[in-house]
């Protein structure tokens, strides 16, 4: 508990410092000016999103390989946190796009594959809600989760493979790409701060799932004892 409080305090401090750096330390971009500062948390939210979906993928594969329910908890935690980070990316993107492109949204390959990714993982979460039996729910959602993850590399590669309205990658983008050194450091700081934040959120979400499992077991025990005492009381008169 003490460790958790210290970790939360450190992450909040890191996130605040990253926010300050993005607003006040990073240099002004020549053509877009202030609105370009959305970039620091827009890109960081995608790193967080891809990391969370990778965690979900590891959980899904782990469950199918071992059939241990802990992997399923990791899968659902990663998927839900990933959807949150993906939603942040999908909301901040249009707020940046409108003043720069003149439109909130366009169906270019990067945006479309990203929207599909969001829909796939929302479907994953909905699917889990529809299946009652835990083993069946874990198996089906693990299979669906692996299928959904196939879109992650496609999203990442979309603005490398096709000509898109979305800007070309500035990191690992090949010749002609790159960032001002200060911008690069601030972006790195923002990415690290959001990754630390999602690690904390993932840990909480995982704990929630393990508590849910414990509560289900207790509920089953109460039900079985209730049924046992009921059958005894019906047998008693004879």
């Amino acid at each position: 508990m003490k460790l958790r409080i210290v970790a939360t305090f450190l992450v909040v401090a890191l996130v605040c410092f990253a926010g300050y750096a993005a607003l006040f330390i990073a240099p002004d971009e020549r053509t877009m000016h202030e609105v370009q500062r959305i970039f620091y948390f827009h890109v960081a939210s995608w790193s967080a999103c891809f990391t969370a979906f990778t965690v979900a993928f590891i959980g899904n594969v782990g469950y199918l390989a071992t059939r241990k329910i802990n992997w399923d908890w990791l899968g659902v935690a990663g998927a839900e946190v990933g959807v949150v980070a993906c939603s942040i990316g999908l909301v901040t993107g249009p707020l940046w796009a409108k003043p720069v492109w003149g439109v909130w949204w366009t169906w270019d390959p990067r945006l479309t594959t990203t929207f599909i990714l969001w829909l796939l993982y929302v479907s994953y979460l909905l699917l889990r809600g529809l299946i009652e039996e835990p083993g069946r729910r874990a198996t089906l959602s693990a299979v669906f989760g692996i299928f959904a993850f196939l879109d992650v590399p496609l999203v990442y590669m979309s603005n490398r493979l096709w000509r898109t309205q979305h800007p070309a990658p500035v990191i690992f983008g090949g010749e002609g790409s790159g960032l001002d050194p200060t911008m690069g450091k601030v972006l790195g700081l923002c990415i690290v701060s959001l990754l630390c934040l999602i690690v904390l959120v993932l840990a909480d979400r995982y704990r929630l799932e393990s508590l849910r499992h414990e509560a289900d077991e207790l509920r089953q025990e109460v039900e079985s004892r209730t049924l046992g005492s009921e059958s005894l009381s019906t047998k008693a008169p004879s």
């Binding site: 926010g19 202030e34 948390f41 939603s87 942040i88 003043p99 959120v201 509560a215 025990e221 109460v222």
Partner: protein
């Protein structure tokens, strides 16, 4: 300060979404703990 409104909205949304999500997890955990306490009490009474 051109387009400051968009920058402000984006920043507020980032933190609001994370905050609401974290609060939702905390509430779900609290509700589950309460349920578990009730179930344990029921088991002790049986």
């Amino acid at each position: 300060m051109k387009n400051f409104g968009n920058l402000f909205a984006a920043w507020m949304l980032v933190w609001a979404i994370f905050f609401v999500y974290e609060v939702s997890i905390a509430r779900r955990i609290a509700r589950l703990r309460q349920d578990m306490e009730d179930l344990k009490r029921q088991l002790q009474n049986k």
